[in-house]
Amino acid sequence: MTKIIVGMADLKVDRAPCMLTTLGLGSCVGIALYDPASKVAGLAHIMLPDSTKMQNNQNLAKFADTAMVKMIQDMAAIGANKTRLRAKIAGGAQMFSFNSKNDDMRIGDRNVEATLRLLKQYSIPLIAYEVGANYGRTVELYADDGRFLIKTIGHGNREL
C-alpha cells in the first residue's frame, strides 16, 4: 500500500489503496475527509484558522479555510462526491501550559473551532475527533475503509 506523507501546512488526496499520514500534530489540526463510496481520501495539516486575517496567505494548505476548499476540490477531481464526504479530525493541542489568557497561545483551540465551523458550513458530518489536551499526535488515514489511527507518545494509540 502506498504511504503518502502530508507535511506541515500541506494537504494530499488519493484513492484506495493508500494510507495518508501526518506526523506529530501539535497545535496544528489534521483534517481527514473521506468518501466511502469512491474510496477517495484527503488529509490536511493546517497551522492557522483563517487566511483572511493574514497578509502572507499564498500557501492554501496552511489555513483551515483555504485548505478545506482546496481539499474538497482536489477530492472531487479524482472522483469523490462532495455530498458523501465525512470528516475525522485530530490535533489542536496546547503543547505548553501557558498561564495566560493571551489568545495567541490558544491557537490549538482556535484551529479546532475554525475547522468545526467550516465542516458545518460545507455540510460535512464530523464522524469522530480527538482534539485538545497537551500532547502530540501522529495520524493515519486509510483510504480502503476510512479508518483513522492516532498514535501518541505516552498517551496511547487509538482508532477512530
Binding site: G7, M8, A9, G24, G136
Partner: protein, 208 residues
C-alpha cells in the same frame, strides 16, 4: 508577502551573528554552571520550510525536550530551546553531579530533573537574550520557562505557527556543543513577532 522574502545574504549574516553570539553566551553560561569546559561548534542559521523543519532535529517523530520562554518588552515573541533526550541526560548528569546529586539512570526524568532542565534552559535563554539585547540596545524580558517532552513536530508546531503568521519559513539556529567530550545537541529557535523582527534588524542598521 512573506516576511523573509526580502532578506538578502547580508541580512542572513546579521541573523547568523546574533545566533552565534547568543549561543556563545548561552554555552558559556552552561560552562560556568557545571564548572566544566564546554566546546561550541559554529552555529548554523537557516531559513527552513515548515515541511523540512523536523529533519534538522532528527525527524518529525523523534522525542525531544522542549522549553518555551515567552519574551516581551521592546522585542516580543518567544524563544524555544530544544534538545534530544540523551542531551538532557548528559547535561543533567553534569549539572547534578556538580551539586552532589545523582542523576537517574533508567532513562526517565524525575520532577527534580525536569525543573533542573527548565532552569538550565532558562539560564541559557537568558544569556542568549542578554546578548540579543546588548547587540541591539533593545530591552528584552523573559517569562517563566515551560517544558514539554513530545514528538519533534508537535513541539516545533508552536514556533512554526508563530512564523506561519508572517512567512513560510522558520528561522532556525542549530547549535551543538560538547561538555568534556560528551556531545550535546541543542537547538534554539528565536521567534520575534513581525514588528520585533523589523526592530531588531533596524537597530543593527539593516533596513528590511
Amino acid at each position: 508577502m512573506s516576511l523573509f522574502s526580502n532578506l538578502n545574504e547580508m541580512h542572513l549574516d546579521v541573523l547568523k551573528e546574533i545566533g552565534s553570539i547568543g549561543t556563545g553566551n548561552a554555552v558559556t553560561a552552561v560552562s560556568s554552571l557545571i564548572n566544566k569546559k564546554v566546546q561550541m561548534n559554529v552555529p548554523s542559521v537557516e531559513l527552513i520550510e515548515f515541511d523540512t523543519l523536523a529533519d534538522f532535529v532528527g525527524g518529525p517523530e523523534i522525542i525531544l525536550v522542549g522549553v518555551l520562554i515567552g519574551i516581551s518588552d521592546d522585542v516580543s515573541g518567544m524563544i524555544m530551546f530544544l534538545m534530544d533526550i540523551d542531551t538532557a541526560h548528559n547535561l543533567l548528569g553534569s549539572v547534578l553531579s556538580s551539586m552532589g546529586i545523582e542523576a537517574s539512570t533508567d532513562g526517565s526524568l524525575s520532577e527534580l530533573e525536569l525543573s533542573a532542565i527548565e532552569e538550565i534552559s532558562n539560564i541559557m535563554a537568558g544569556s542568549y537574550l542578554g546578548s540579543l539585547s546588548g547587540l541591539t540596545n533593545l530591552r528584552v524580558r523573559q517569562s517563566v520557562p515551560m517544558l514539554a517532552i513530545d514528538m519533534a513536530n508537535a513541539l516545533l508546531s508552536v514556533p512554526a505557527i508563530e512564523f506561519g503568521k508572517m512567512a513560510d519559513h522558520v528561522l532556525f539556529i542549530n547549535s551543538s556543543f560538547s561538555v568534556e567530550n560528551v556531545a550535546v545537541n541543542g537547538y534554539f529557535i528565536l521567534v520575534p513577532d513581525e514588528d520585533s523582527f523589523a526592530k531588531i534588524m533596524r537597530s543593527l542598521g539593516v533596513e528590511l
